[in-house]
């Protein structure tokens, strides 16, 4: 269950943005930071199960589109109400222009 799964092409995500990725009945959010690094978290806000991929990326923060709860998408840490429970994060690597996520 520790396989690397191809999520998308790196070029599909703008810098300082996020994209939704569904796999195996689960949903994830893939991020590209302003300094061109890639990260992945669970795709739904821990507050009310809203897709974070519709939210706003600012520096290290993803803000939920429904209630503006904030998380550090690099660590998963909840950073602002109403987000109180941390997001699960997943290892990411880029190989041959593809973003791969290790879904445990």
């Amino acid at each position: 269950m520790n396989d690397w799964v191809e999520a998308c092409a790196a070029e599909e995500i703008d810098e300082e943005d996020v994209m939704r990725f569904d796999h195996g009945g689960r949903t994830f959010a893939i991020y590209r930071s302003p300094d061109d690094e890639f990260f992945a978290t669970d795709g739904l806000c821990t507050h009310e199960k809203i897709h974070l991929a519709d939210g706003l990326v600012m520096d290290d923060i993803i803000e939920c589109p429904k209630h503006n709860g904030r998380f550090n998408y690099k660590t998963g840490a909840a950073k602002g109400a109403p987000a109180c429970v941390n997001l699960k994060t997943y290892p990411v690597k880029v190989d041959a222009g593809k973003v791969l996520v290790q879904i445990g």
Partner: protein, 363 residues
């Protein structure tokens, strides 16, 4: 002016609260107008500039009007200064609390937090309690038994609504809640939307505020003058009229228990002074549909999606002309509401979700 007891149970721990959860009205998926990711990203972008400018004007106007009121205290010349100071203190803080609570006014978070705390004190809303109540308002907008911020329930209590313009009942409840929280008591209703780990913070803020009001009252007694209370506390009463005037229009007379903000929220046009005081919350359908968009970008969002929304109400006066007859009719039939008509370019309401409500509107 009074009506029969409501069939609706607005209690957050009552019958309709349970029903809303059981029938899927709570935490439901809401209608959104299609907006491309590129356009939405542009609209959501945060900036400190507009809010710093508006906050500087707001603080300067507060200081000048407050100083003028104090300078002319004891003469009729203080009245216009208190008029301005009161609106800035008791009304414009409603929108500052709101926007900074969403975290959208400024890009820099500590600026949102600072203005949020000051505005909460002035508008007498515990910053912890109201952050969470407003979260629920956005999850379950005008869902009976779930939304703690329904300002006019059905059938409407018009005496209460009118008293709101001078803030009497709001201030009374705010002071009661503050003292209760300061005594360490979080009510059963508050516990339904404030997470347990946040409750001590609500108590701490209530204690700080109680101390500030105690000092203000002591100062008034010591100086033998009402002036300290006219500057701290009482403006929430004599300056409340503007935020109540525009706030009632947000949802007043429109549908409840629906999952489409076009049916239960009202966008209207208003004069630039009111829009400054209100921080563009007159674009209320847009705000509820896309709460990530900062107040200064709402006019642009409105232009982008207005083809899919009911025609905006053209003015505050027009808003009252359409809302008051609905309130009066709801005294006899609480199920009656104003159904907002969509333009031909809009995607239709999903009537299968709103059959009961639509039938009532057709009464």
């Amino acid at each position: 002016m009074t009506a029969a007891p409501s069939r609706r149970d607005y209690s957050l721990i009552g019958r309709d609260a349970k029903l809303a959860v059981e029938n899927g009205l709570s935490a439901a998926e809401w209608y959104h107008t299609d907006v491309s990711r590129k356009q939405m990203k542009e609209l959501m972008q945060r900036s400190d500039g507009p809010a710093i400018r508006d906050t500087a004007i707001w603080i300067a106007a507060l200081v000048v009007s407050g100083a003028g009121a104090a300078w002319f205290w004891g003469t009729w010349w203080c009245v216009p200064f208190f008029f301005v100071y009161g609106v800035l203190y008791g009304s414009s803080t409603d929108s500052r609390w709101h926007e900074c609570g969403h975290g959208t006014a400024f890009r820099t978070q500590w600026m949102n937090d600072a203005v949020y705390q000051v505005a909460c004190f002035m508008i007498m809303r515990n910053p912890v309690t109201w952050r969470w109540s407003h979260t629920r308002h956005h999850t379950d907008t005008i869902i009976v038994g779930r939304d703690p911020e329904i300002s006019v329930m059905r059938p409407p209590d018009l005496v209460r609504a009118i008293l709101g313009f001078v803030g009497v009942l709001d201030a009374w409840h705010a002071m009661s809640d503050m003292l209760r929280n300061a005594a360490g008591n979080i009510s059963a209703a508050e516990k339904t939307f404030i997470p347990q780990q946040e409750q001590p913070r609500a108590i701490r803020v209530a204690r700080i505020w109680t101390a500030i009001y105690a000092v203000t009252i002591a100062l008034a007694l010591y100086s033998g003058s009402f002036l300290p209370l006219m500057l701290v506390g009482l403006p929430r009463l004599y300056g409340a009229w503007h935020h109540v005037m525009v706030g009632l229009l947000q949802h007043g007379g429109l549908a409840d228990n629906v999952t489409d903000h076009r049916l239960n929220s009202r966008t209207l046009y208003m004069n630039p002074v009111s829009r400054f005081i209100y921080w563009n919350m007159n674009y209320h359908v847009e705000h509820h549909m896309f709460p990530m968009v900062p107040y200064h970008a709402l006019p642009k969002l409105h232009e982008l999606i207005k083809h899919d929304l009911p025609a905006p109400t053209p003015s505050i006066l027009a808003g009252y002309r359409e809302m008051i007859p609905v309130f009066l009719r709801q005294l006899r039939n609480e199920d009656y509401f104003l159904k907002r008509e969509l333009p031909p370019t809009a995607r239709p309401y999903r009537e299968e979700f709103h059959n009961d409500a639509v039938a009532a509107a057709a009464e």
